[in-house]
Amino acid sequence: MGNLIVFIIIAAFALLGAVGTVTSRNAIYSALFLVLNMAMLAVFYVLLNAPFIAMVQVAVYAGAIMVLFVFAIMLLGAERLPGMLPNRPQVVVALVLGLVILGLLVFSLFTAPLPAGDIEAIDAGPVAVGMTLFERYVLPLEVTSILLLVAMIGVVVFRARTRQRREDA
């Protein structure tokens, strides 16, 4: 599953991206840190024998979703909104709770042993993924298409209704 040094370097960049996303004062910097995190995860997917998912990650997440985010930030001029500073007691409570959850996850990771895995990497190219998707997961795939359609119609109706209400007012 990859060289230890490579893993540590990429994991460090992924964590840097994650921490930067959460701590940046400027929303644009947050978005760029999130892109860094997603790009590092795409590298992990390549290392983990998932080239198709890696490409989808770059195209959909780092591409389409982040463009939407940056577009929304620009549209709102929200990169430097005041009053976004967290208040201190909430930060302390969040830190404590986060560490508790992390401890639980790591504890369960080391106490419940995973089933012994295959050492051999299976064929996970686009053809294999497509065959699995259309042979065993046809119904979820169709449901997903309906979900995307509903989301699209929902956004259009939502915006149209808001505009109409503003014209009435």
Partner: protein, 102 residues
């Protein structure tokens, strides 16, 4: 040098997930909270792919595919909501958005 096992990847995924949770709990900017949710979804995806590699099974990768689709739909609807809320309230600080009435 120790071999990188699936546990390392799951531990990293747990760390990324916790950082995302912290972002949701601590930040007040709705856009940043959205990005933190994306961070958590990505952490879950990493765990899925690592376990798919560990078990030699494609199903984990298929799940990641579905998670990405749902995330795309969620972002489209959520950002439309945020833009509309900003138009009416001139703020995306979630502490000021505590009523359903626009």
């Amino acid at each position: 040098m120790p071999e990188v096992t699936v546990n390392w990847y799951i531990a990293l995924a747990a760390l990324l997930f916790i950082i995302g949770t912290m972002g949701v709990l601590v930040r007040r900017n709705a856009l940043i909270i959205y990005m933190s949710i994306e961070l958590m979804l990505n952490a879950a995806n990493l765990a899925f792919v690592a376990l798919a590699r560990h078990l030699g099974d494609l199903d984990g990768q298929i799940f990641v595919f579905f998670v990405m689709t749902v995330a795309a739909a969620e972002v489209a609807v959520g950002l439309a909501l945020i833009v509309t809320i900003f138009r009416t309230k001139a703020s995306i600080n979630i502490d000021t958005i505590n009523t359903m009435k626009g």
